[in-house]
């Protein structure tokens, strides 16, 4: 199973990443790709994301390995952006390549649920009245619990 894990400021291109994930592997029959975007609720202007360098990559890698142990996967690409991101911009990509769609869909959802609950990123919302830290949601923890 290949694993490409990046934490970066720069934007990514989903087509390019999927092409790289599936290159030269004719055993891949399914690619499930999730992209998270900055949603413009309640006059949001931008999100600013910070992370814990070192722990971030380590946590994501551990969960990618966990996914590889639960499902037969050919490859995983996770790219998570940090810095100031405006409404509509891409935040995160989780792309999973497998022989069949069951594994690809399941692993993609599993990895997104864990990114929401364990990966050390923190978001700050910027509106006209200033910046406020986003609070973690119980629904995200509940989503992650179902994989236990």
């Amino acid at each position: 199973m290949s694993a490409r894990i990046l934490v970066q400021r720069e934007d990514f291109d989903v087509s390019t990443e999927i092409a790289a994930l599936t290159k030269d592997n004719s055993s891949i029959g399914a690619v499930a790709a999730f992209t998270g975007l900055v949603r413009g609720d309640d006059d949001l202007v931008a999100l600013t994301l910070e992370h814990y360098p070192g722990m971030t990559e380590r946590e994501i890698a551990a969960h990618v390995e966990d996914a590889g142990g639960r499902w037969a996967l050919h490859g995983v690409t996770i790219i998570h952006r940090v810095g100031r991101l405006r409404v509509g911009e891409q935040i995160v990509l989780v792309a999973v390549a497998a022989a069949h769609r069951g594994e690809a869909f399941a692993a993609c959802e599993f990895l997104m649920d864990y990114l929401k609950t364990r990966a050390p990123f923190w978001k700050q919302e910027e509106r006209a009245d200033g910046a406020h830290w986003v609070e973690a949601r119980a629904s995200d923890d509940a989503a992650a619990e179902r994989w236990r």
């Binding site: 814990y52 722990m55 990966a119 990123f121 995200d140």
Partner: protein, 83 residues
Amino acid sequence: MTLLYFAWVRQKIGRGEEQMALPGGVSTLGELAAHLATLGNGYAEVFSDAKRLRAAVNQVHTQWDATVRESDEIAFFPPVTGG
């Protein structure tokens, strides 16, 4: 020890990183948090309610009863909000 602070923990304390000798009588993460609360100002506000915080020792999520050592990297932060 290296202490790291993130998000509003960093903002309230006023710094993102500091070096600190392991205080006498402190051997767990919980005891360290209680000690930090006595430093006043932002520390008192941040560490007054451990339920609002999470911690990692050497980059691994850890519980409050975990042992802490002089050579550890210890981070305190709010529940994560990535993805």
